[in-house]
Structures are given as structure tokens and as C-alpha cells.
Subunit: 410 residues, 2 copies
């Protein structure tokens, strides 16, 4: 069964709001077995909505729409869909009561705009919105379904999870779709493709392979569609095993893209603790670590030492070492890692020092030069990286490289 | 002039990767005067790409495509566009040299996949990719333009900024588009719409109003298209002034700017320095500050004090105060701010301590309780916030609230 996602709103179209709704719906509906045919974002205009719905309905089974269902004048989705499906707008008492309760509980009185939201097409099934005033609208045409939902993310998500997915599962028989990710690090896409070419060519046609490169990493995705999840997983595992034989050193996970989540598991398993000393990454590694729920059991803290005086006073780096080798050097980053490990009394520590850019580079140490050190109970390991010229990419890649080095010692 | 954005890739379609490329391109191209007609995401299939390009070219002037230009077998964009535009694939020496240099500088040798990337359609203008191996492809059809670019965000962004936008500006005469945001807080959308109904109805037709609701806030956007930016801004300012008279208590900002960037300007103007002491935000505030290029002039560093012992040993928080009031308290967060300010010898300091969740809450201090303090040369100000139950949202909102408090004292 094919499903289209149609997101309506100029704020999405002009790049003012990131389209997390389409992203979230795509994952949720693909997970229950729909093939996502396309995601389309258009303006809040009558002609645009009509032609998008009409064109998509010829090629897909289900259209999920968000946006344009609010109480204000720029919200056109309901009248346009009502016109398309040829219904009449009538007041729905159940929805009226729900809206009234919600408005009163917030300390307001019902106004004209609120009342309008209880007037819905008579040929659709209204879907209750437990987190807001705009109801969802479920239309059918033959065996096809068009659902309009509000664009506020938490209202839409609750509606999809609690009502739309159960209704769709009832209506359609859906297959199982399995995506198996393989996360690699330390090899460019073109070299990886060469190394695994023979493996790729012998994959059964039921398994589709995709390469997804990003800063410092290449993800591989093996996808398969069938009936039984266990059968799909078994077939994929056969290929996974072969891949592991081929490139063991580059695969860092098949479960978790998030290296910080992986490290969380490893540190918990070892009952070990960690701290970071960050210069060029400016707290980003600590942020990645502390984004993980439960990180307080193994993460004690960090010293972010942007200024050299902080490196000296807080991390015990020798002034003479900074003078001799510069702040971006093996010697300094090693002292930073050892310093924060001893200061925070942890088992492990990570340190970074580099030139994130755009300025601050030199011939010997161009922008993108980054030293990373990992201190363990036994030793301090340091490694130099040359990333590129872009500040945000350098911060991202430095953090991934540092967490990658930590993973290798754990 | 109308512009379409076409993003190709199953990772986008199935909700595995958030489509930040479409978001970024939409903003960048709308900013230079294009009307964004639609954003479409489709699968890496020949039929899908052909029909999407063909249908869009009938209704738009420019199509920007990302994705499917890599060196691997699942990358179909180049051969499909070559077929559509009827060209021949030939080796481009300039691109070959560029790829070879890049591969050698990374310590690899050219392989077959890298060589393939220098073979491009002879009827397109190749666009140099300074951050990767896949070149961009600029095709023309009559007065229309189709550009294919790699999907790796930093490669695409540099290409759009350095090459595509200048080329498009040369080719087309573009109008000025102005969006003026008004950020409101503390009033639901339906009530706001009622309060400003008369104002909305008297707006000149050249100014378009949109309501953008999200949790706890409603943004208003006033948009106008014309030739002279100053004229557009003057016309909008007339309406802004009227709106300020109507709802002064609900408007909290009309600046559409990254708050860390705003703080960067204020600190530089004051020649002041800053440090952070972070518990629940775990380095995220430092990360937001250090993402800004040039932040090393005013940011000295941070202590991330997740464990209480770090709060005591590194920030000088009294053990007895933690015992009496708890780590998430006004007293502790004030001591943290004062402690890091004195330790790092800065003018200002921010501190956070809260319960990000999902666990760790109590009846008195539920998950989402966050104390934020700002230390200035004269005083320490603290404020308590109650966010929600979601860890990442709490970290985000705590950081924004802390930077907001700092902004108010600067």
C-alpha cells in the first residue's frame, strides 16, 4: 500500500520551519508497512491543495495531510477538502463540547473562531484532537483514504499514534518492512563501495542496499519487504555476517547510529565513568553524552577550556608546553585528557583541541586541524585529524572522532 | 520567478533522515527573491525522477535537486538527467583533477568509483564541489534551469552559496521578498486572531499575514514582495506600530535571530567575557555559544558539573547547601554561576541545574523543573522554570531560557 505525505504551509515552503512533521509521519507509517511514495510541501492556496490532492489520489492509496486546519483566516484545508469531496459543513456537537472544555480549562471563553472549529464536513469522520482544538478529518474515496490533521507537531503525533494508525491497520492488510542499518566510520563512501562490491553484487534481489554518507561516517541500509519479520531478519543476518567478515574495522554498530548511546551501554556495562575536556568542540561532546537519558550514572562533568588560561588553571596544562607546541598539539591535548580525568576522578576522559575556523589557521596547522586524546586507566592515546574548513562540520566531526576513539578503547 | 526543490533519497522518504536540505535551500532561495512553489521528496528510481522533473518543469522556472549524485550503484540522478536532457557522458579533465587532488590529500588512491564521478553529461555546466567528489550539474531548457547537487549538506550548501545563487542572480531579475516576524507569547491563536481581527482586515493587500502556532507561542509573519527593501520595510513598519498598540503585552520580539548570535554581538559591543556552569544542559549552552564563529573572543570556558562532587570541588558550591536545598535549587544555581564567573575570571556567567528527565523527578520538583542563574559584575539573578517531560525539549528550552536571561541583562 502506498502512502503520500502532504504538508501545507508557507512557513515550511519558505524554509522558516523545519518539516519535522513529514519526517515523523514517514517513519511512523513506514514502520507499520506503508511504502511512502512521496512527501510534498505546498502553499496554503486553494488551487495548490486541490491539484495536489487530485494528482496524488490517482497514484497512491492514502494521503496524510497536515497544516491549514487552524481557526484563522489563512487556514484553508478544511473548506478546500470539503469542496473536493462535495460535502456540507455542519456543526458537530461532540467536537463542540470538547473544544469548549479545552478553552474553559485554559481560562478563556469560547469565541467565534473556536466555534468555527466544530463545524466540519458531513461526509468525513472527525478525529478527536486530545491536545488542541482542531479536529482531524478522515475522508474516503473508494478504497482510498485522505486524512487532514493539524500542523502542531504534538497534536498531530498523538492523533496519528492513537487514531490514524489503528484505523489504517483495520482497513488495510499491510506487509512487514525491515530496515537494517550498518554504521561505518573511518572510510570514505567510494572506498567502502569498492571494498564491498562483490558482496553487494551477490545480494539477493529481495534485499535493497543504500549508501548514506554524512560528515565522517557512511551508513549502509539493507531493506527488505515480506510477511514474517523473523524471516526477513534471518535473510538479512546472513548478509550481515558476510559484511562483518569483510570490513570488521569500519563497522561501529548495527544498532545505534548514535555513538553516544553506544558508549552509554559500554560504560554502564563496565561500570566506568567519564569526563571531557573540550576546546574546539566547545561542549558539544558533553552535550551528545548528556542528551542520553541516564547519562548521570557515568558522566561526571567537563571542563570547557576555550581560553589558554583555563587549560592551564583548570586542567593543569603546562604554560611552557603551550608556548613550545601551541594549544593545538599532541602534548596539550594529552595533558588536557589526563588533567580532567584526574581532576574529576573518572576512569576515562576525552579531550579535544583544534582549529574549528573560519579563522585561526596557519600553514603548519590549517583550519580543520584537530587533536583528540583519550585517557584510560592505563594510558593516554592521541590522534591528529585534518577535517575541512567549515566550523560546524569540524565541531561535528571532531566529536564523532573523539567518541569513536573512546569506543575503540572500551 | 518560481523555484521547486526536489530531494531524492529513500532515507528522506522513509523518515530516516530529516530533510534539512530542503529547509535550508528554501530559505536561501526565498531570501534572494524566488517564490518557492513546492518541495517534493521522492525515491531513487528512474521513473520517479523523470516524471517529477518533467511535471515540475511545466509549472516552475528553476528546479534544485539534491541527492543521488554519489559514486555508488544506488545513485541514479546523473544518468537519469542525462537521459532526460539527451546528452552524452564524457570525462571532464578539470573535475578529474579536482577529485584526484581531494582523494590523494585524504591519503587514498583514485579508484574506479572516483573516476566515474568525473564523467558528466556534455550538455550541462559542471559545478565544482570544493568539499567533496561529486560535482554539481547545471542544465538549461529554454529559459529554465535544473541543477543537481550532492545530498551531503555541507557540500550542497557551499555549492548553493558560492556558485548557484550567483549564477541564478545573473540569469534572472529577482524581486525583494521581505518577511517580518512578530513573536507572541501568552495568548492562544484563536484569541489572538480575535484581538487583531480589525487590524488584519485593514492590512493592505500587498502584505500577507500568516499565523504560526507552536507550544506556548504564536508567531505572526508579515510578508511582502516588491523592488526596494526599504520601501517594503517602511510599509510593514506602519502596520507593526499599529499592532504594538493593540497587543503590547503579548509581543516579546520582532527579531528573527539566533539568540547566541545576538549575544555574540552584545558581548563584543560591551567587550565583555562569559563562562557557563552547566548541570542539566550538559554543555549544550557552551555548544550554542561556540558554534558562533569568533566566540573565542568572549567565551572563556565552562564547567559542566553533572555530579554533585564536581559542583562542590570545581565550582565552590557548599555541600551543606546541596544537602539542605538539593542540587536543583536557587541557592545551588546561584553559587554555580558565581563560582564559574570567579574561577574563569569573566564578566558574566550562566548556570543551570534542573531535572531533564525522564527520571529523577519528585512531587516538589517534577521532571522539567529547571533553575537558571545569570551572574553579572553586580549581582546574581536566578529564575525557576517548569518545562515538560521530554528530555531533549527540556535541554533545548533551558538553554534558550538561559541565553534569554543573559540577553536581558546585557
Amino acid at each position: 500500500m502506498k502512502l503520500d505525505i502532504l504538508t501545507i504551509g508557507d512557513e515550511l515552503l519558505i524554509g522558516q520551519t523545519l518539516n519535522t512533521n513529514a519526517f515523523w509521519m514517514a517513519k511512523a507509517l513506514n514502520d507499520v508497512g506503508f511504502e511512502i511514495r512521496q512527501q510534498l510541501t505546498i502553499s496554503d492556496g486553494e488551487a495548490e491543495i486541490l491539484s495536489a490532492v487530485d494528482a496524488a489520489l490517482k497514484l497512491t492509496d492514502v494521503i496524510l495531510i497536515t497544516g491549514g486546519l487552524g481557526p484563522t483566516n489563512d487556514d484553508l484545508t478544511m473548506p478546500v477538502l470539503n469542496k473536493y469531496f462535495g460535502g456540507k459543513l455542519v456543526k458537530n456537537d461532540e467536537i463542540y463540547e470538547h473544544i469548549e472544555q479545552l478553552i474553559l480549562s485554559r481560562g478563556y471563553k469560547m469565541n467565534k473562531n473556536n466555534q468555527t472549529q466544530a463545524i466540519v464536513p458531513d461526509n468525513c469522520k472527525p478525529i478527536m484532537n486530545h491536545n488542541g482544538t482542531a479536529p482531524g478529518l478522515w475522508f474516503t474515496k473508494g478504497n482510498k483514504v485522505v486524512v487532514a490533521m493539524p500542523g502542531v507537531p504534538y497534536e498531530m503525533k498523538a492523533m496519528v499514534t492513537d487514531s490514524i494508525i489503528p484505523l489504517l491497520k483495520e482497513k488495510y492488510q499491510l506487509p512487514t518492512i525491515l530496515h537494517q542499518m550498518v554504521y561505518t566510520q573511518g572510510i570514505p563512501e567510494s572506498m567502502l563501495a569498492e571494498k564491498i562490491e562483490d558482496w553487494e553484487n551477490q545480494l539477493p534481489t529481495s534485499i535493497k542496499l543504500a549508501y548514506l554518507p554524512s560528515a565522517g561516517r557512511v551508513k549502509l541500509r539493507l531493506s527488505s519487504v515480506g510477511e514474517e519479520k523473523t524471516v526477513l531478519q534471518e535473510n538479512i543476518n546472513v548478509e550481515l555476517d558476510k559484511l562483518y567478515q569483510l570490513i570488521p574495522e569500519f563497522i561501529y554498530s548495527i544498532e545505534d547510529e548514535n555513538i553516544a548511546a553506544l558508549i552509554s551501554k559500554l560504560l554502564n556495562a563496565n561500570q566506568a565513568t567519564i569526563a571531557t575536556a573540550e576546546s574546539c568542540t566547545g561542549g558539544y561532546i558533553a552535550h551528545l553524552i548528556t542528551k542520553i537519558a541516564g547519562s548521570s550514572t557515568y558522566f561526571k562533568g567537563s571542563v570547557i577550556a576555550y581560553a589558554n588560561e583555563i587549560k592551564v588553571n583548570e586542567l593543569g596544562v603546562d604554560t611552557s608546553v603551550i608556548e613550545q607546541y601551541g594549544a593545538v598539539s599532541q602534548q596539550v591535548v594529552e595533558q588536557m585528557a589526563a588533567g580532567v580525568r584526574s581532576k574529576m576522578n573518572t576512569d576515562y576522559a576525552i579531550a579535544t583541541s583544534g582549529i574549528a575556523g573560519p579563522s585561526g589557521g596557519s600553514d603548519q596547522k590549517p583550519v580543520g586541524t584537530v587533536w583528540v586524546a583519550v585517557a584510560t586507566p592505563n594510558e593516554v592515546i592521541a590522534k591528529k585529524f585534518e577535517f575541512g574548513k567549515q566550523r560546524e562540520v569540524n565541531i561535528e566531526r571532531s566529536a564523532i572522532a573523539a567518541l569513536g576513539m573512546l569506543r575503540n578503547v572500551l
